[in-house]
């Protein structure tokens, strides 16, 4: 073999597979079990009284355990959002899609949710939305149980009511 035959190897693709074993812990177990029943379950901090959903079990601000369980409604407000139009490996949703920050009524923290049943150019901050759950026999202990959020048709929430939660 001559040296010319040994062309440089510039790139090797070696796919790997990742399987997670996830121990949810007591607090997240409550939230995840709630999804399996089609419910949002959060927790309230005994000190600052803020409601977290999902809850990690302790208050990030006060560092104390949150022991009060709070069931939250299906409705909330889009505090802010972006429209995703970029493909990437592992993506499971058709482009473009609207990724909203959803502040459930009674919660003090927002989380990411898919918005549907509204054209991308009509979505706005303050939009009132509700969760659409998957059929009962498809519910599971994960956020995939929420199919998406859709507009309720109510008037938009006043900016003052959610400006602290952007």
């Amino acid at each position: 073999m001559t040296e010319e035959n040994l062309a440089p190897v510039t790139m090797l693709s070696t796919p790997i597979r990742l399987d997670y074993d996830f121990t949810a812990g007591l607090a997240q177990s409550k939230t995840l079990a709630g999804y399996a029943q089609g419910k949002f379950i959060g927790q309230r901090c005994p000190k600052c009284k803020q409601v977290y959903v999902p809850s990690g079990g302790s208050c990030p601000t006060d560092g104390v355990a949150m022991d009060e369980v709070v069931e939250l409604p299906n409705t909330g407000t889009v505090t802010t959002y972006c429209i995703v139009n970029v493909p990437f490996a592992g993506q499971s949703i058709e482009l473009p899609y609207i990724c909203g920050q959803i502040l459930l009524d009674g919660a003090n923290i927002s989380f990411m949710g898919l918005l549907q049943e509204i054209p991308t150019d009509e979505v706005r901050m303050g939009l009132r939305v509700e969760a659409v759950w998957v059929p009962e026999d498809e519910l599971g202990p994960n956020l995939s149980s929420v199919k998406y959020f859709r507009p309720t048709g109510e008037p938009d929430a006043d900016y003052e009511t959610f400006k602290e939660y952007l």
């Binding site: 790139m11 990030p60 601000t61 959002y81 995703v84 970029v86 990724c99 920050q101 923290i109 956020l143």
Partner: protein, 390 residues
């Protein structure tokens, strides 16, 4: 922290989409060798090595510092790996500086890198988890809603981000190491580029780069003696600061994070700065998405809250004619080897006060800020460097 310390050697690679001619080891060695040459030193002169990079999941190499020990001349010496997400390049330099300021070592080599052509950062930042919806589309998907909140809150016109995108790319034309050289860049070109994460256009986002950055940080006596030999001035470290905050908590101000404000206050106090816009000659600030220039102008106290976009719009942050030029090197918007991006900010600030920045030199710069942030705006690292001792 009682001992003075200074940057006496600086090295970086030419940042590119793909460096197929080198492995990661070759990439970091290239930057490290250049920093040693600048310092007039060789591998044997170094007491300890501090290396940083962004999450291992990017390239899929667990603990790359293990295999890089020999490439970085760390055999038989203390070696330390730092990780604080996107801010890691900055915090790595700070850890190196602290090893000198504490009197433990006299000559520390610090290196940071990313080889994005080996990696899939977008995938690594978007892995589905059972407790969240599979919606997160990379860093842009995370930051775009926060940018929208800033636009709403400040009432800024829609084109401010595009102006930053043009300004930083024009400045990159003066930096031979920059990844993106777009001589035809214009507002129209940015506006016509695809809307990736509405409200962010493709050209308002940072590129994916291969690259490495390195510095030699030395004690006062070493800095003075080597400087006499090399004829190149040191950049004296006037202050270093790091802060963090949780990714999520009720009432978190994601647009103007507390940790960033606290970090800036700390580093300014150490450097004796009460008015950053007046007292600094330039700044290299981590702006991976265009709108983060006006947002960080406010966070870092260069203006009042809500006025950052006015500063950008007035041209104050441009190398050409501005009173407080930001990212003369072209910044993260022009080169983004993620793990190295923060160190490039720190290193470019040092180049400026050494009067060694070449075409993108701010005339007579004597005091500069280097800044990096990472995670969901939860890690901050900053330093102020000067041409004179403090």
């Amino acid at each position: 922290m009682t001992e003075r310390c200074a940057v006496i050697g600086i090295g970086q690679t030419y940042h590119k989409a793909k460096r197929e001619d080198v492995s990661i080891a070759g990439l970091v060695r290239e930057a490290a060798r250049a920093a040693l040459d600048d310092a007039g030193m060789d591998w044997g002169d170094i007491d300890a090595v501090v290396v940083g990079k962004a999450p291992d999941m990017f390239e899929g190499i667990m603990m790359p510092e293990l295999y890089l020990a020999s490439a970085l001349g760390a055999v038989g010496k203390p070696m330390l790996r730092v990780h604080t997400a996107g801010s890691v390049g900055g915090s790595t330099a700070i850890v190196a500086a602290h090893l000198v300021q504490s009197g433990i070592h006299k000559r520390v080599l610090t290196v940071a890198f990313e080889k994005q052509s080996d990696s899939d950062a977008m995938w690594a930042l978007s892995v589905p988890r059972p407790f969240s919806a599979p919606l997160l589309a990379g860093a842009g998907g995370y930051f775009a809603p926060i940018i929208r909140a800033y636009m709403h809150r400040s009432g800024a016109p829609n084109d401010v981000g595009m102006k930053v995108a043009v300004k930083d790319r024009l400045q990159a034309l003066k930096n031979p190491y920059a990844h993106l050289h777009l001589p035809d860049i214009s507002l129209k070109m940015v506006e016509e580029s695809i809307m990736l994460w509405d409200p962010l256009h493709y050209l308002e986002s940072c590129p994916s780069s291969d690259g490495a950055a390195a510095m030699v940080i030395a004690s006062e006596d070493v800095a003075e003696s080597t400087s006499k030999v090399t004829g190149r001035p040191p950049a004296w470290v006037h202050g270093t600061a790091m802060r963090s905050e949780p990714t999520m908590f009720a009432g978190r101000n994601q647009v103007n994070p507390q940790a960033g404000r606290d970090c800036a206050k700390d580093v300014y106090a150490q450097a004796g700065i009460t008015n950053p816009r007046q007292q600094l000659d330039c700044a290299e600030v981590y702006v991976p998405f265009s709108w983060y220039e006006p947002m960080w102008l406010e966070n870092l106290g260069f203006c009042d809250e809500g006025d950052g976009w006015k500063l950008t719009e007035s041209g104050a942050t441009a190398l050409d004619g501005g009173d407080i030029p930001w990212n003369c090197s072209g910044g993260v918007l022009s080169s983004n080897p993620i793990g190295a991006s923060g160190m490039l900010r720190f290193l470019e600030a040092a180049l400026q006060v050494r009067n060694m920045a070449g075409e993108h030199q701010v005339e007579g710069a004597s005091r500069a800020l280097g800044h990096a942030y990472g995670g969901g705006s939860q890690f901050f690292s900053m330093w102020v460097v000067g041409s004179d001792k403090r």
